[in-house]
């Protein structure tokens, strides 16, 4: 189950929201939330929360598909350590 979540996000190639994951994986949102929290706690996933002001202008924020408990949130895989290392400046 947990690996299916990681695979789904990896295959999508972009952050996914709770609703999209729930629909794609056929897992109840309440159950999925616990799974996502487990993956975040283990450092396998990161939650991206959007600044509230980014959404204030949105006319359909009340029914937004990435809104989760009043917070616009999506889930992404953590950056690949090798990619991060390459992006860091060379201090040597």
């Amino acid at each position: 189950m947990l690996r299916a979540i990681l695979s789904a996000i990896d295959e999508a190639g972009r952050p996914m929201c709770l609703a999209d994951l729930s629909r794609d994986l056929g897992i109840d949102e309440a159950v999925l939330e616990g799974m996502l929290e487990t993956l975040i706690a283990r450092g396998r996933l990161r939650a991206i929360e959007y600044e509230a002001e980014d959404c204030t202008a949105c006319p359909i924020k009340s029914g937004c598909f990435i809104m989760n408990d009043g917070v616009a949130k999506t889930y992404a895989l953590p950056p690949d350590p090798e990619t991060v290392a390459r992006a860091l400046p060379d201090f040597q």
């Binding site: 109840d28 204030t56 202008a57 009340s62 029914g63 598909f65």
Partner: protein, 567 residues
């Protein structure tokens, strides 16, 4: 916390973690149970699972007991075996099995297909999101909103217009004369700044009404229904349902709307949506519609303004159909997941906060961008220095050179083309420019002695109360069967600019002009947003195709109207 350890009738509950994990759990349970302290202090199976999951706190505690190191080592060995079997860390493999069980239980016991209740929200949705009724209801709602904007705000619009054109102008003139300011500076302040910025600020009351009702529709949950209804229409035109979000944001301002296309996955869909967003009438265009609506269409102003918004949407649909079948051919069948929240009554705090945020943005723009442009325009209208007629100024000459282009559309005057040229910078400037070209040189009426500052303030207060009274009566009169507006006040108030325009346009050329403003080249800020997102080629395409389309439709309106005898 309550722990169930089971009884003779109810054996302890265990999740089956699979043979590999269970084997490691079993081996650890034996060791824990045999330990003199741990077996009594912890439920062995629970502790074994936690150690296999690598719980640092428990590993430390167990390792600190006598003989505990062997258990910790056994747990590490067990984790290694699980990881080699599952190809993932042991904690993830165990959590995976646990959630797999929970998922199975939920599927067994939760019946999500059953409709538990037919709530008020469901009843409303059966009508508001109805396949046939949804769209007409949306247009009807928007008509009521624009009717309120025009009819209710007209009272305040008249009040602000009178305050800016009267006391404010008198006070600034008096102050500058007291400071012995040169004549050109007084002209810059009155004919440039106050005429330009004031002409835009006059619409603040109308925009407050518009923003208030749009916020009401958004926060009540209705806009989410509109997105749902529009999804079907969007798909028909070749757009993705998600395109609705940037499209409706375009009614406020096209710049954030272009950036909002980032919610779309496909680049083709993003480009197409960005090309259509400027066809949604932004708030900056509303002042143009209101000025012309009041000047030429009187009581039908709300109908004309609603019509313009609908025309914008229809043209966007047609353009989408053409683009999706030609240069931007790509079908995106991804599902548009949108939760329809229950309807709710928005709080006063949310309504006022959101309305204020949007209004503030408009006022700040008037105080910055439009102020600078108004000053620049005044100089362009005054150069070469000492020019007698605005028509002979640099601005007048450039505008006159562009005017013949608009001749077939019925508004080939230098004033109209000048306003359209400055509208490239920001659409609010169209009205600001017209105020300078049509009103800038006008002498204010001087009937009798000028009132004192005290008299002015009393008059401002009294006229505000009268405007508020008229607005409340007008609002209540929208209810069928209620008519609280006195017969002599039935005529919608006009602004000074509306009156000036009535002498330069006919109703037909005025309609062709607002059609042009609706469609023509987006403002510089929107074009630069498109450029930053998709490159200058698409920005140039957006500017050119909209100008061409606007010209074509304005000419069509004027020529067909003339042929049919509406001129």
């Amino acid at each position: 916390m309550t722990t169930f350890v089971g009884s003779a009738d109810h054996p302890p509950f265990h999740i089956d973690y699979g043979s590999e994990v269970e084997a490691q759990i079993g081996a650890l349970v034996e060791r824990i149970a045999a330990h003199p302290d741990l077996g009594a202090a912890y439920q062995p199976r629970w502790l074994a699972i936690k150690l296999l999951e690598g719980e640092a706190d428990l590993l430390e505690r167990v390792g600190g007991t006598e003989g505990g190191t062997a258990i910790v080592d056994a747990a590490a060995s067990g984790r290694g075996r699980i990881e080699s079997m599952y190809g993932d860390t042991a904690d993830i493999a165990i959590a995976d099995a646990r959630y797999g069980y929970i998922h199975g239980v939920v599927r067994e016991v939760v019946d999500s297909s059953a409709v538990s209740r037919y709530s008020v929200t469901d009843r409303l949705d059966s009508v508001l999101t109805n396949r046939l009724l949804g769209l007409p209801i949306f247009f009807a709602v928007m008509f009521v909103v624009f009717k309120l904007v025009v009819e209710v705000s007209a009272y305040f619009l008249d009040w602000v217009d009178a305050v800016i054109g009267g006391p404010v102008t008198r006070w600034v003139t008096g102050l500058l004369e007291m400071l012995s300011a040169p004549d050109w500076f007084v002209s810059l302040a009155i004919d440039g700044v106050i005429a330009g910025v004031g002409a835009v600020l006059v619409f603040v009351p109308g925009l407050i009404v518009l923003y208030l009702f749009l916020t009401l529709l958004e926060d009540s949950g209705y806009m989410a229904r509109v997105a749902f209804v529009m999804d079907r229409v969007m798909r028909f035109t070749g757009l993705h349902g998600k395109s609705f979000i940037p499209m409706i944001l375009g009614f406020g301002c096209a710049v954030p709307a272009v950036y909002a296309t980032r919610t779309l996955e496909s680049r083709t869909q993003r480009i197409m949506t960005s090309l259509l967003v400027p066809l949604m009438s932004c708030a900056a265009r509303l002042p143009v519609y209101v000025v012309f609506g009041l000047a030429f269409f009187g009581a039908a102003a709300a109908t004309v303004i609603t019509g313009l918004y609908v025309i914008g949407i229809l043209i966007a649909g047609l353009v989408a159909m053409v683009l999706s079948r030609t240069i931007l051919r790509e079908r995106d069948d991804a599902i548009f997941a949108l939760e329809l929240p229950p309807y709710r009554m928005p709080t006063m705090k949310a309504l006022t906060t959101h309305t204020w945020e949007k209004t503030k943005e408009f006022v700040v723009k008037a105080g910055t961008v439009i102020l600078v442009i108004s000053i620049g325009l005044w100089f362009l209208m005054s150069l070469p220095w000492g020019v007698e007629e605005q028509r002979d100024s640099y601005f007048g000459q450039v505008s006159a050179a562009a005017a013949p282009i608009f001749e077939p559309a019925g508004f080939g005057t230098w004033e109209a083309s000048g306003a359209l040229v400055t509208g490239f910078i920001a659409k609010e400037v169209v009205v600001a420019t017209m105020a300078q070209t049509y009103l800038g040189g006008e002498e204010s009426e001087a009937a009798g002695p000028a009132p004192t500052v005290g008299e002015d303030i009393r008059e401002i207060g009294a006229s505000f109360v009268a405007a508020a009274d008229g607005a409340v009566r007008s609002t209540l009169s929208i209810i069928p069967g209620v008519d609280l507006v006195p017969a002599e006040a039935e005529d919608v108030q006009d602004t000074a600019l509306s009156n000036a325009l009535a002498t330069s346009f006919t109703p037909l050329s005025a309609f062709a002009f607002v059609m042009f403003v609706l469609i023509y080249t987006p403002c510089v800020a929107t074009l630069s947003a498109i450029k930053s997102e998709f490159g200058w080629r698409w920005a140039a395409f957006s500017g050119l195709y909209q100008f061409g389309l606007a010209w074509l439709l304005a000419v069509l309106v004027f020529q067909v109207g003339t042929f049919l005898g509406f001129a």
